[in-house]
């Protein structure tokens, strides 16, 4: 290709340049002695808020992002402080985290694992985020949790209800405040037994994916323990929009309760179909036919409109909690007030869990005196706190799951406005929703957290 000519002078020149080139990196490289991934060295610390801004859960994601922004304000000592005033741990001073001002970056998970991981990776690799939080589906939560474990940063999951997140897919660097399928089942069963009796025949329609399976299993096991009989369980495709073909057989099955293990658009459609088929006006086995939706959200209730009236479900939190059930749920009003003042409407449970997770992380860092994920994990482990709107809460060390009361709600008969669609029926105390860390529904004895990873 070219005729090169080696000369002594040429060789000397080249090796001098090459030598300088090789030496340069060692001269210029700085801060390579970081103790862990993305250790904040300046006077700011960056958090990554990775929420769905497009896709089916964009509404939940938008609300989460609002809550995160509010949390950053409160951490930095702006605004009215929100739950910082009611939180039992007083480590946070309102001067950022460990004196460092809190900054944040945002990303769009698109409700897809790949996109969520890409976005989380860019937060970690490019923006230097020391913690990633958010997400509105379990697939995304599990994927991003594993990523944060590998990268050596903390993941505070957002709205994820599947057992797997802190069950078989639990990770040492991942923490969940939101409740799960098992808790929904355990919380609903006694309330359902009270309302509908213990002699019932249930028919399950289940969305055909992981969350559906775990929810069905949880509800089935808890209701069967109460004396209910499960007539049949049918899987429905996630993409289905018309459930009439699945509803019709319910009429012939002899069942008197229909359990819809559906979420989001699925639930809105299946419930609407079920009501249109007149299931709710039916009398079977001499009892009134009933419908149950294990996981409820305000946004879904809004979607289903009239049809949710009187239908039971469970929630992680509700903005009316403190007003209706008193001071045990202190913190609720403080949060609702500062959220409402900033945005003009009450927060959803997705917003609440995000806000609380951000605060819990900051508090754990402050108590640990370090941003090191292992130290933070140690501080969160078996941490008991109160004043975050859910009553006394335990962050269990064995699986990094929060244990707290579960709210059982039902669709309100005559809502006053579009934010008042559900009414609180009862709160199932935390003792009834407790389970062993190696519970079979949680991945059994095989599930382990692994060891914490601090990266770098």
């Amino acid at each position: 290709m070219s005729n090169s000519r080696f000369t002594r002078r040429g060789l000397l020149k080249t090796s001098a340049i090459a030598g300088a080139g090789l030496a340069a990196p060692t001269i210029f490289t700085a801060g390579s002695a970081a103790a862990h991934t993305n250790e904040p060295t300046g006077d700011t610390v960056t958090l990554g808020f990775n929420v769905p801004q497009s896709g089916p859960y964009a509404d939940e994601g938008g609300d989460q992002l609002r809550a995160y922004k509010l949390a950053v304000e409160h951490l930095n000592g702006e605004g009215d402080g929100g739950m910082l005033n009611t939180f039992t741990s007083k480590a946070l001073q309102g001067n950022g985290i460990m004196g460092k001002k809190v900054q944040y970056v945002t990303g769009d998970t698109q409700t897809k694992s790949d996109a969520a991981r890409a976005s989380a990776k860019s937060m970690i690799e490019k923006d230097g985020a020391v913690m990633v939080t958010g997400g509105s589906s379990s697939g995304v939560a599990v994927a991003v949790q594993a990523l944060c474990q590998e990268a050596g940063i903390i993941f505070m999951s957002g709205l994820t209800h599947s057992n797997d997140t802190t069950g078989k897919d639990r990770k040492a660097n991942g923490f969940r405040h939101f409740f799960n399928s098992y808790m929904s089942g355990a919380a609903l069963a006694p309330v359902l037994a009270n309302a509908y009796g213990t002699d019932r025949k249930a028919y399950h329609l289940t969305a055909d994916y992981n969350w559906g399976y775990t929810t069905e299993e949880a509800v089935r096991t808890s209701t069967e323990a109460m004396g209910w009989e499960t007539v049949e369980t049918v899987l429905t495709p996630l993409t289905a929009t018309d459930f009439s073909a699945y509803i019709a057989p319910v009429l012939q099955s002899g069942a008197d309760v229909l359990v819809l293990n559906h979420y989001g658009g699925n639930m809105v459609n299946s419930l609407t179909n079920a009501v249109q088929f007149g299931l709710r006006d039916l009398e079977v086995n001499g009892k009134k036919f009933e419908i149950v939706v294990p996981l409820y959200s305000e946004l879904m209730a809004r979607g289903a409109g009239e049809n949710v009236k009187g239908i039971f479900g469970s929630q992680n939190w509700d903005w009316k909690l403190e007003n209706q059930l008193g001071a045990r749920y202190t913190g609720t009003n403080a949060f609702v007030q500062s959220f409402g003042e900033k945005y003009g409407f009450p927060p959803s449970q997705a917003a609440h869990t995000g806000y609380v997770q951000a605060l819990l992380y900051a508090d754990a860092v402050e108590r640990a005196g370090s941003f090191n994920p292992c130290a933070v994990g140690e501080a969160l482990k078996d941490f008991e706190f109160d004043g975050m709107g859910n009553g006394p809460t335990l962050y269990r060390g064995a699986d990094h799951q929060c244990f707290k009361d579960v709210v059982v709600v039902k669709g309100k008969e005559d809502p006053e406005n579009e934010f008042d669609l559900v009414e609180i029926v009862e709160v199932t105390p935390v003792d009834q929703v407790m389970y062993a860390p190696d519970h079979p529904q949680m991945g059994g004895a095989e599930a382990t957290l692994g060891s914490c990873n601090a990266g770098a």
Partner: protein, 398 residues
């Protein structure tokens, strides 16, 4: 050189230079400056550039040469990914067996899909491939949950029992590696205010992409490639001359399926996790966009298109309102708010809109894609340079 003409060789060298110097090229702005937002030189995105480059190069062999528009190519990417992760879970975390199996399985799967779909051409072919891909997605999402992990997908665990290696001590998770060299390890070079990251995974992926690119040049220039072009320009005439075009299209289909499988395997090698969304129809549509945006039938076009789309997805989507306010902070308040309101729909979650506008612009004004844009610019700078530019671009097939 390497069995290539001088033109093709210089194009290959250009791509070599671009990929090897990517950490510098993609990080032109100093760390901490306002423009650092537009830096793309971090490992994950660089890896994505080359992996989707491979995917698009493979797609282009089918679409650019034969004109058969497959709307289900993401299925092969997904199948390759699942094959690779199972290899890593069961055999070894070395990426070589994983990638080999990914290519083989994707090849076999594309043989089946291709054999059936290629009985039809045009829109019917597209719909058939789309149907296959959606079917694969739906099965991976639910029916095949024991095999694919369903919605939550598959990832490496500390409980995986591998035949060829033992679990790491202390409950850690083994990472993807090449004979002990971990994909995630990086070397950071700080030059003044600039920061450059050299990542092992990226360079391995880049070398694979260069091989894939070289192979695609050879295919383009071979008699086989000529035959594929003939199918595109006039299939009926091919039949009249007594040639059976089907084995050629099927071969092209399988080759491009194997490219997709390779890309899928590499994705797992760089990021050890698979989810079914990878096979969703929008992912299949994305590779079509990449190819058309860059220039279908050109050698380098698909790589450019892939880079463009991944850049938009990862960089533009992360600009939020706060950052906009910082940009326009120098303006008076009213105008600042006005500017933010005007720009806001196009950034953050609005990146799809920006991408759509660019795509429309390209399709309307530059039917040959970004490559044609490059050629036109080159032509502006005088005749002599235009000849050079032609050297680096192969002529679009249409």
């Amino acid at each position: 050189m390497l069995g290539l003409t001088k033109k093709d060789f210089s194009l290959l060298m250009l791509v070599v230079a671009l990929t090897m110097l990517a950490p510098f090229i993609l990080n032109p702005f100093p760390e901490g400056s306002a423009m650092a937002q537009f830096n793309a030189g971090y490992p994950d995105l660089m890896q994505r550039f080359v992996i989707f480059g491979i995917f698009a190069i493979g797609f282009n062999i089918l679409f650019g040469l034969t004109g058969y528009l497959s709307f289900g190519h993401a299925a092969f990417l997904g199948v390759g990914s699942y094959a690779a992760i199972w290899m890593m879970k069961l055999l070894t975390t070395n990426i070589i067996p994983a990638m080999v199996l990914a290519v083989i399985i994707a090849g076999l799967f594309s043989l089946i899909v291709g054999y059936i779909s290629l009985r039809r051409s045009g829109i019917y072919f597209s719909i058939l491939t789309l149907a296959f891909a959606q079917m694969s997605f739906a099965m991976a999402y639910s029916v095949l949950t024991p095999l694919t992990g369903g919605e939550t997908g598959l990832q490496l665990r500390n409980t995986d029992a591998r035949i060829l290696e033992s679990a790491p001590d202390g409950g850690g998770i083994s990472r993807a590696n090449l004979f002990g060299l971990e994909m995630t390890s990086s070397y950071e070079l700080t030059l003044g205010a600039w920061e450059f990251t050299f990542n092992v995974g990226y360079y391995i992926a880049a070398i694979v992409m260069l091989l894939a690119f070289y192979l695609s040049i050879r295919i383009f220039r071979s008699p086989f490639g000529m035959m594929l072009r003939a199918i595109k320009s006039n299939n009926t005439r091919m039949n009249y001359t007594g040639l059976n075009a089907k084995p050629y299209t099927l071969a092209a289909f399988v080759i491009s399926g194997m490219y997709a499988g390779l890309a899928g395997g590499l994705m797992v090698a760089m990021d050890t996790q698979v989810g079914p969304e990878r096979m969703f129809w929008t992912a299949s549509g994305e590779v079509v966009l990449m190819t058309i945006l860059g220039g279908a039938g050109t050698l380098i076009g698909p790589v450019l298109g892939a880079g463009m789309i991944k850049y938009m997805e990862n960089i533009i989507s992360k600009i939020n309102e706060t950052i906009l306010h910082q940009w326009f902070a120098f303006m008076p308040d009213g105008i600042e708010d006005l500017m933010v309101t005007m720009v806001y729909p196009f950034i953050g979650k609005g990146w799809h809109l920006t991408l759509g506008l660019i795509f429309m612009g390209v399709v309307i004004f530059l039917p040959g894609g970004l490559v044609e844009g490059g050629q036109r610019i080159a032509r502006l700078f005088g005749k002599g340079k235009a000849a050079d530019a032609k050297d680096t671009q192969s002529t679009p097939a249409e």
